[in-house]
Subunit: 350 residues, 4 copies
Amino acid sequence: MSMDNAPRETPERRAYYDRLEPQDLSALWTKFSTLVTKQPKSRATAHLWRYAAVRDLLMEAGELITAKEAERRVLILENPGLPGDGRVTSSLYAGLQLVLPGEIAPAHRHTQTALRFVMEGEGAHTAVDGEKTVMKPGDFVITPNWAWHDHGNDSDRPMIWMDGLDIPLVNFLDASFAEGYGADEYPRARPAGDNLARFGQGMLPIGWEAGDTRNSPVFSYPYERSRETLETLRGTGEWDACHGIKMRYVNPANGDWAMPTMGACLQLLPRGFETAAYRSTDATVFTATEGRGRSTIGETVLEWGPRDIFVAPSWAPVRHEADEDAVLFSFSDRPVQEKLGLWREDRGNA
Amino acid sequence: MSMDNAPRETPERRAYYDRLEPQDLSALWTKFSTLVTKQPKSRATAHLWRYAAVRDLLMEAGELITAKEAERRVLILENPGLPGDGRVTSSLYAGLQLVLPGEIAPAHRHTQTALRFVMEGEGAHTAVDGEKTVMKPGDFVITPNWAWHDHGNDSDRPMIWMDGLDIPLVNFLDASFAEGYGADEYPRARPAGDNLARFGQGMLPIGWEAGDTRNSPVFSYPYERSRETLETLRGTGEWDACHGIKMRYVNPANGDWAMPTMGACLQLLPRGFETAAYRSTDATVFTATEGRGRSTIGETVLEWGPRDIFVAPSWAPVRHEADEDAVLFSFSDRPVQEKLGLWREDRGNA
Amino acid sequence: MSMDNAPRETPERRAYYDRLEPQDLSALWTKFSTLVTKQPKSRATAHLWRYAAVRDLLMEAGELITAKEAERRVLILENPGLPGDGRVTSSLYAGLQLVLPGEIAPAHRHTQTALRFVMEGEGAHTAVDGEKTVMKPGDFVITPNWAWHDHGNDSDRPMIWMDGLDIPLVNFLDASFAEGYGADEYPRARPAGDNLARFGQGMLPIGWEAGDTRNSPVFSYPYERSRETLETLRGTGEWDACHGIKMRYVNPANGDWAMPTMGACLQLLPRGFETAAYRSTDATVFTATEGRGRSTIGETVLEWGPRDIFVAPSWAPVRHEADEDAVLFSFSDRPVQEKLGLWREDRGNA
Amino acid sequence: MSMDNAPRETPERRAYYDRLEPQDLSALWTKFSTLVTKQPKSRATAHLWRYAAVRDLLMEAGELITAKEAERRVLILENPGLPGDGRVTSSLYAGLQLVLPGEIAPAHRHTQTALRFVMEGEGAHTAVDGEKTVMKPGDFVITPNWAWHDHGNDSDRPMIWMDGLDIPLVNFLDASFAEGYGADEYPRARPAGDNLARFGQGMLPIGWEAGDTRNSPVFSYPYERSRETLETLRGTGEWDACHGIKMRYVNPANGDWAMPTMGACLQLLPRGFETAAYRSTDATVFTATEGRGRSTIGETVLEWGPRDIFVAPSWAPVRHEADEDAVLFSFSDRPVQEKLGLWREDRGNA
């Protein structure tokens, strides 16, 4: 049957196929089962990057190039199944960025949306459209599509965060625009912390209307608050069999994901908790902010500790076990798939 | 400046880069300007397929393979800039499908959404979830994500239509699912034409609620009605400088595009009308249903007549001239880009 | 129990209550069961107006006053349970309007939204923001909130239509604004029929965006098309036990009701069809465009023929029987109740 | 002109009008200018209730009737222009409720949505669907349409809060349903504070979906957080000329108002700040949680201090002056008017 196998090739057919190519044509039936697969067949693989190892290389980069010369001093995490493309999953990019004390990553903007998840250090800042936010470990910060942003480190320690961007997606859609601001810093506008007060405390300014980007007007979600939320909910006893206690960061203007192209979550796996097998079509990048454990992704077992980063491909069954109370941050392209009616999950019997 | 050029390579840096690859890492600053471009830099090119030429090859295929053996007997239009991938634009697929008299293309379903635009023949049908629609030239038919569909030709003439699918997009998102029904025809449910009456006449059934796919419940938009609409509007004299009289097919359940992943339009270019240069980030496939003219896409001039198919890449300026009253059908991934906040257009000074 | 009965009154309590009123206060517990009832307790009653009788009085009005002097020459149908308020249901207004040959009802606009349903005559017009629509029996026409509108009768016969407005609702919300245009006709803009072609044929103009009023951009729904739709669907055999074949007029820009404050439907009751008892919280005005039958509303049996108008109060069970193929037009405030989360229905065991 | 004045009455017309009434008809032209007014003409008036005076009467009620016998021990604030109807504005109800130490207000539910704004006392609770929230002065608590709720006071002091309900609106729409639970308390479900953690901290549970009522899943907005938000924003210096620093409570599931039928706000008027005249079509109830000042509403000047309650009718110009830093809580039917396309505001020249 043709959904499984291409029709038999004959000499006549072969000759015919050879005549198609110069005409910029090809025969669907020769590739139907690879173009339209019965289940997702991702080239991406399950993989883990040990934080300590990447950190060493990143610190070495700190001596090779300045943040300013690099525009952004980042090591990209490349999925072993998708080499050379700057992709951690098919549609997303992840990297670790280092900003040394006194350094600046100059102001620019682009249609790619970025998330930052702070791994190490405290006191560096990201500024979005001129409003600074000071970053601490576990903070989740976004720089929306086409917003001016710059980074700086006023502290005396290196600052390292994970970057997640929709670079492969935006390139796939041929929709990349970017420009430099022409100065290190975009002019400072509102005081630090304004965005969280203005948009993130259960209220919105009367008469305020959301802009075009569909990104959250809150651009910094402090870990302190998010972590406390998980702890409170732990007490209710309702732990999801597949996820433990898992929350998604939301855009308070519409209840949707904080970004239209990437969905980010924080989840608590209590000590000893073992999740039921779960799979979904959104390949997902995880990092542990606390705790140790292991994740079985398809046939691959990945042992993780704090700050290690690992990735699960689309539709691969995932099981987590926590040896200690563990907190996982994760992100994926689930909002994209949901908006397009393509997202699926399989909770097994959970 | 690093947004334009990668930082200078030194022997130390080169050595460092070489040590990254085995760790599944790479340095962002070496590829920043290619990952985040100042403007879309599509590999796709402007190109035209002459209908007569493709038709000849397609009829020849009619002798090489049956519709049933092929599952679908289609010649894929492959963008010369994206060879081998089954892509007409970065995210979309287009092909010409032939169903010969008496033939059947068996029932299957998949998460890829398809549109059909009838080029030639009359009397063949597409059935969606068991409801048949008889197809005529210029009819626009959709088979939504995960809907069972089959085709058959009860007439005595070959039937040829253009297929547009979101295959590259669904594969990029690793979200392909498909299954065969196991029989030629999905059981017949409602009578032919029911969907247009039920959903497409300015009314909706009381209490009816839209399903999950976000696709239009109307799956057949007759050319007769669409063409008459354009003619009526021609009389008002308000022709858009960039588009002439251009309408998009809509989902009556929400006013959105008829499909969540592909946007389709029909436009009238009155004889002698010349559009102002226009570009947008959604690469677009056009076909002329009537008339003759030419389109200048970037530096490329494409002369077209009835049923010829041509494609304009993302952000390439497009100008159309009609030598006769001309009607263009077109489709693109604009709904995707709009939902993600990525779509842009540039109307020049129009 | 206090949800059913007020607490017992004592002399002390009575004395206390008497002291409240001068302070603009009152005791909730004395009126709780009337303010918060266990089920809707409408003062409105089921009632029928015989068309012939109202028509005679309306023609008489044609001799007493001109359309221009009257601003609108209308007899209001006042619910017997809500006398003097110009209300056919608690929230809605209905009337019959007469425009004689050669007459004009001058241009004005107001925040009240109006629907017209044509009872008799052919050739008069309504113009909305300068676009005329010629009216025939059974046509459903809307004049949205704050749209300029005028009427005229260029034919040689009297024209009579039913008006439905949200006047009581707008007054209840203290949100009435109105102004006269200062001339009989608002300047003519687009040609007649433009709105249906532009917005009502399964397509929308590329780049067009809906305005603020939330009303449909289509303002005339021809009976010919709506009636044919019902007839087509009759053939499918799926008749709703409570409604027969019932369709709601929709706003093609969002799939919502054609107006935000009033919902209008057209339904076919095949000869001999008897609906199951049904009730909902939206009191409803019905008129028969074709056929004869009867409706049992609570304990009241109403026999109706063509053009008779009757009303069913909130939550009263309604059963229809058709002696001939019958078509009922109806309208209610269901969109309001849905938007506020208040609408309920009870389909009995159907 | 008839938009301003009814047409002249003649003996013939008078005789005609007299014949209409027995037929449940009336002539629109005799009442057009009262049914469709050029501007809102509310019967409601500007009025202030001094908290101390109402409190005295409420404490007296504490001796006359128990909370349980009363179902709810509330003094309704009746607008002087709308006497006897239990209305503070045309569409809304307001009252002050007292729960004494040890008392319980038994569990019931109704389609009317309620808000509570705590005036005095600390330690009493409201439970919504079995989840308790402990109330402090300034807390904003909602009990959505059809949610079970009960109140109790476990503290040793009287507890007084303001109730705001949509009772007149629900009755106007004939959509009231209510039932008692049959026990004092609805069974306790989640622990206190769960709702704020689960829904109100910038995250939502993965996979959670909003229900039908369109009310916020957060049902308690602590004053401490809201007040701090205002103070933070005060520092930015961007004070609205008409509103000072004014925030609306939002539903985190959709960014809409916290309730579909009532909109609630909290605003800070810094000492000495005087707002520009402002009017809107939503009649509004205010109470001062802190500070003193005066509001000029039309021609009426109302001096207010902590806990006083006052009301501004639709479209009356309102100006506030704060003699001390003042915080005003307010609520109105603005969400209703917005959803129906009826809401208007006039900022003067501000």
